[in-house]
């Protein structure tokens, strides 16, 4: 299953490292990463592939723990929601 992880918050050392470590521990493969600044806030977007036995919900719990430690907002959603809103 493809999913999109978004991380939004104040830029600081270790965001990419910590989130990607959490992904690796959950056997989540990171396909692409992009970073940008959204209205002065740091925004990182990752396209990932989940192993078959991992649900969005359990990945979300793990990443939210990492997000809380970093003081950033993390969300995980299936990729289709972005596909349908931006492709005709």
């Amino acid at each position: 299953m493809n999913a999109v992880i978004t991380v939004i918050g104040v830029d600081k050392v270790g965001i990419l490292a910590r989130i990607s470590t959490a992904c690796a521990q959950a056997h989540v493969n990171i396909e692409e990463v992009t970073q940008t600044i959204l209205r002065g806030m740091f925004a990182m977007i990752m396209l990932v592939t989940l192993p078959e036995d991992l649900t969005i919900e359990s990945l979300s719990v793990k990443l939210n723990e990492a997000g809380e430690a970093l003081g950033v907002n993390v969300s995980v959603t299936r990729q289709e929601i972005y596909d349908v809103t931006h492709k005709v």
């Binding site: 969005i56 995980v76 349908v84």
Partner: protein, 458 residues
């Protein structure tokens, strides 16, 4: 911006912005369930059968919607069920107490954890069949003795005209419903809709019921998104002329509808039920920023209710449909912009200021769905005045071949300028001033207003 597979980071952040900051959500996933096979001359057996059928089909509705909501990151605000008009089940049970059916519906709604169940309804646009009159007369008691049951009566269609005998009944029914729920802010009347041209696949309450031409069970979707449209207008429509404004609305409506379509397809598959339609209606909530009035004001009106409001609403309603039909293979329901006064913070403000009056609201209903909706009127309004309001709205719907409806709440013990609050999605609002010049004789003539000539298309 770097391309991100087929998505750009901007695309992803825009979608997140719409959901998290602009109140974009799927307003309702409504499961339509036919109860035609639950009709039984023994009312107890009929109630047992309908309870069992609703629970059997809808028991996973709430958990499935919660899982979809979590996985796709899009809130699904309401999970609901719409059933076959209950009057059709009463026909074969002449001695049944209709209220027992309402209570069975309420119990089923409680069991499956939904917040409303619609279909305590009768379709009487050309006349009354067995069960219809009993159902209509039981509405006040049924709505006062249940929590989640919603009721509707279709009193006219373009094809058949307006059943003025039914219209003449509805004023008293609305008043009695409000009186019986007076200690609960007259909330019963907020769960009762009188329709002309009622759609059979409407997912929105209080008017949802499951039409007889529908499949046995079906999933219909109602989307939301006034906040997203307003934000798009504020950010992308600066300096544009009105053709440009319409384009911005279309593009936003497309995105909103695509989310609804996705949720409908996924929910249908997960529940093993065919996906029916997406209703394109922009549905406001009392939340600040989730308002149709705000959208109209973002087009350049000082306050909704000003001259120009009807034109702006016509533009909005049309652009929403054009964007929406491109996004979904199956559009239905009401599909227009809703203007429920008490459920829209901008409308409430304009009504409180006295800028938005009933006459302007009536004009607005000629270019959008659904009608005079969630309007609070003085508690001493004569029944015939309510009937005449219904007749006027039905005439607009009948002649324009569109759905119109009346959902007014007589605020028992209150007068124009007072305030009534329902809480939750039903909102709050001022008691509006209405014209009480008597239509008594017109209403009590009864009979039928014939169908307009353009109904004869064959």
């Amino acid at each position: 911006m770097k391309r991100f597979t087929n998505l750009s980071a901007d695309d992803i952040l825009e979608t997140l912005q719409m959901i998290h900051n602009e109140n974009l959500d799927v307003r309702t996933v409504t499961m339509g369930i036919s109860l035609l096979d639950c009709a039984d001359p023994d009312p107890k057996r009929a109630c047992d059968k309908l309870y069992e059928k609703i629970v059997r089909h809808a028991e996973n509705l709430v958990p499935v919607c919660e899982r979809i909501s979590m996985e796709y990151g899009i809130p699904i605000v309401n999970k609901r069920v719409a059933v076959t008009p209950i009057a059709m089940l009463l026909g074969c049970a002449p001695d049944a107490d209709p209220v027992a059916y309402a209570k069975a519906l309420d119990r089923a709604a409680d069991t499956v954890g939904i917040n409303f169940i619609g279909g305590y309804s009768a379709l009487v646009h050309k006349g009354f069949s067995a069960g219809d009159v009993r159902l209509i007369q039981s509405i006040p008691q049924a709505l006062s003795e249940t929590e989640k049951v919603c009721s509707s009566v279709n009193i006219g269609t373009t094809k058949s005209g307006i059943n003025m005998d039914a219209v003449a009944m509805m004023g008293d029914i609305i008043l009695d419903t409000a009186k019986r729920t007076a200690e609960r802010n007259c909330i019963g009347a907020a769960k009762l809709v009188v329709f002309c041209n009622a759609p059979e696949d409407n997912p929105f309450m209080a008017g949802a019921f499951h039409g007889v031409g529908e499949p046995d069970v079906v999933i219909n979707i109602g989307v939301s998104g006034p906040g997203a449209v307003r934000s798009a207008l504020q950010n992308d429509a600066k300096g544009l002329d009105l053709s440009g404004v319409a384009e911005v609305v279309k593009r936003t409506a497309f995105k909103i509808t695509r989310m609804g379509q996705l949720v409908g397809e996924v929910a249908g598959k997960a529940l093993g039920v065919p996906f029916g339609i997406v209703d394109l209606s922009l549905a406001p909530t009392p939340a600040i920023g989730d308002s149709i009035a705000d959208v109209l004001e973002a087009m350049g009106l000082e306050t909704v209710g000003a001259y120009g409001t009807t034109a702006a609403l016509a533009l909005l309603n049309d652009a929403v449909k054009k964007g929406g039909v491109m996004a979904s293979g199956s559009v239905g329901g009401l599909s227009g912009a809703f203007i429920p006064v008490s459920e829209d913070a901008g409308m409430i403000k304009a009504a409180e200021k006295g800028v938005l009056k009933l006459e302007k609201l009536e004009a607005m209903t000629s270019v959008c769905s659904v009608g005079l909706d969630m309007i609070i009127v003085p508690g001493d309004t004569p029944a015939e005045v309510l009937c005449a309001m219904i007749a006027d709205e039905a005439a607009i719907g009948m002649v324009n071949t569109k759905t119109t409806a009346v959902r007014v709440i007589p605020a028992i013990g209150k007068k124009a300028g007072d305030h009534l609050s329902f809480g939750g999605l039903l909102g709050e609002g001022p008691v509006m001033h209405i014209n009480t010049v008597s239509p008594y004789e017109f209403i009590h003539r009864g009979g039928r207003i014939p169908a307009p000539i353009h109904a004869l298309k064959n």
